[in-house]
């Protein structure tokens, strides 16, 4: 079975399993929507507080914490049901597993974002920003790739330790602060000032570079992370 | 800011550096003595067990 076929098979398995039960997706979506409600009450203590420059921050904090929940859940499930052990017995290249799992996590994150962003604009954004949609989608995709790649690598490690759920945030959050800085900056500029590709060039290039560097790094080390 | 006030900050910065390094060094020095003591005790114990019985021990 070629690498590409293996990749598709593993990805299909993960997607089908989740779409059949949908419990992880539903929980993550509910979490994201609830978080937005909480943000409203957290930040509008002052009457008519102006949240224009908080939009990027609120959005990405929500996504990152939803991702942590999702990663914990999907890997815990794999480990408890011994799926990963079964997979490792097959003659599959470890790196293929990494890319398939990252792609699966990326797709879940995109689904959640597809639900969350419209609701977010309903709650927090006054003006019509249809023209800004394309830059925003590019930011979203670039940041998501970095978060999913590192998240998949670290979840693989943390799942095999004593304090599984608690370890992942501690490992992942410091590493993705740069992504957060670039993504929240770009997102806020888009929503608050209608920034276009020209203004966002530096941040977009940074995210691209981040993704490239860490995809290669994760690719190089995943063999060791997934173990014997 | 006058030189005296500046000097107070400078002095405290260097004092902090010295304090942290010295504390680190002495904490590890204490650990070293404890470990050396352990090594000595354990080596004596190992020799004692191998000595008289020459194989009658568990190892």
């Amino acid at each position: 079975m070629s690498g590409w076929a293996q990749f598709r098979a593993i990805l299909r398995k993960d997607l089908i399993r989740e779409l059949r039960t949908r419990d992880m997706l539903v929980s993550m979506i509910l979490f994201v929507l609830l978080a937005m409600v909480i943000f409203h009450y957290a930040f509008t203590v002052k009457e008519n507080a102006d949240l224009t420059y908080f939009t990027g921050g609120m959005l990405w904090v929500t996504f990152i914490f939803a991702m942590l929940l999702g990663l914990n859940r999907s890997f815990a499930q794999e480990k408890d049901e011994r799926c990963l052990d079964g997979l490792l017995l097959c003659p599959v290249d470890r790196v293929t597993i990494f890319f398939a799992k990252s792609a699966g996590n990326l797709i879940f994150l995109l689904i959640i974002q597809a639900v969350a962003v419209p609701v977010f604009t309903l709650f927090f954004i006054e003006h019509n920003y249809a023209g800004d949609l394309l830059p925003f989608l590019v930011v979203l995709l670039l940041a998501d790739v970095g978060i999913c790649a590192l998240g998949t690598l670290l979840a693989t490690i943390s799942m095999n330790t004593r304090s599984r759920d608690l370890l992942l945030p501690i490992l992942l959050l410091p590493l993705i602060v740069p992504v957060l800085i670039a993504a929240t900056g770009a997102t806020t500029l888009i929503f608050a000032e209608g920034a276009g590709f020209a203004d966002l060039a530096a941040r977009l290039l940074f995210l691209l570079g981040f993704d490239a560097v860490f995809l290669v790094a994760a690719w190089g080390t995943y063999d060791f992370a997934i173990g014997e | 800011m006058t030189i005296e006030e500046g000097a107070k900050f400078v002095a405290s910065a260097y004092a902090v550096i010295l304090a942290v390094l010295v504390i680190y060094y002495f904490m590890s020095a204490r650990r070293v003595s404890a470990l050396e003591r352990d090594v000595q005790l354990l080596e004596d114990e190992a020799n004692r067990r191998q000595g008289p019985a020459g194989g009658a021990g568990a190892g």
Partner: protein, 227 residues
């Protein structure tokens, strides 16, 4: 009983350089002409400590790669000893940086590139220790730690680069594109202190490695006796 005195020559050399650097900094180099004035003198140790912390993390990075390639636990030992020392120096960078900030700009904390990068570096490598503490099996612990040490070190320059997107801070740039921007006498003091700090790192590393070997010896003896 043999008394363990480790790397006395290295410590002595480090001490000489550091004291020389300090004296030069105070008596040879002029008082800084900018608004920082006298408090700039903190720089002669603060910047070398920062460089040394990064060197320590670099050593842990190389040692981690060496461990993954060879499986020899002595590389793992070097890696985590270096991380520990790097953390120690990073904490010192933050403490001295905060004191300097208070002296020069009146505030204990500012979200500017260097302080924030080192704060994040502290969190990163603290996570390294947490990871080590929750894996019981030796080879697996070394493997996971090595993977994380590699990823973490790559993230350090990335983080520094990213924090420059934040609004301009108040931290003076040491090395600009057109030379160091420091009069010669300042540079000499800074350079000697930097050599001293690096020697100190080498001495402490040697010492900590020897201590770890001693710990392993104790553990080995306990198993031989117990079994």
């Amino acid at each position: 009983m043999k008394k363990l005195v480790i790397a006395p020559a290295l410590f002595a050399e480090a001490g000489i350089c550091l004291i020389a650097g300090l004296l030069l900094g105070f008596w040879l180099a002029p008082v800084d002409a900018s608004s920082m004035g006298y408090s700039q003198k903190i720089f002669y140790y603060h910047a070398p400590i920062a460089e040394t912390a990064l060197v320590a993390f670099g050593v842990s990075f190389v040692a981690a790669i060496a461990y993954l390639r060879s499986g020899d636990l002595k590389w793992d030992r070097l890696s985590y000893v270096s991380v520990r020392l790097g953390l120690l120096f990073s904490i010192l960078v933050m403490l001295t940086g905060m004191i300097w900030g208070k002296a020069a700009w009146g505030t204990w904390w500012d979200w500017e590139p260097r302080l924030t990068t080192f704060l994040l570096v502290c969190f990163l490598y603290a996570a390294y220790w947490v990871l080590r503490s929750v894996v019981d099996e030796e080879q697996r612990r070394a493997t996971y730690a090595a993977v994380f040490a590699i990823i973490a070190f790559i993230d350090v320059p990335v983080t520094f680069f990213a924090t420059r997107f934040l609004p301009a801070g108040m931290h003076p740039t040491v090395i600009t594109t057109g030379g160091t921007g420091m009069p010669g006498s300042m540079f000499v003091s800074f350079f000697i202190s930097m050599v001293g700090m690096t020697l100190l790192l080498a001495a402490l590393t040697r010492r900590d490695l020897a201590i770890e070997k001693l710990k392993d010896r104790v553990a080995d003896l306990k198993t031989t006796i117990g079994g």
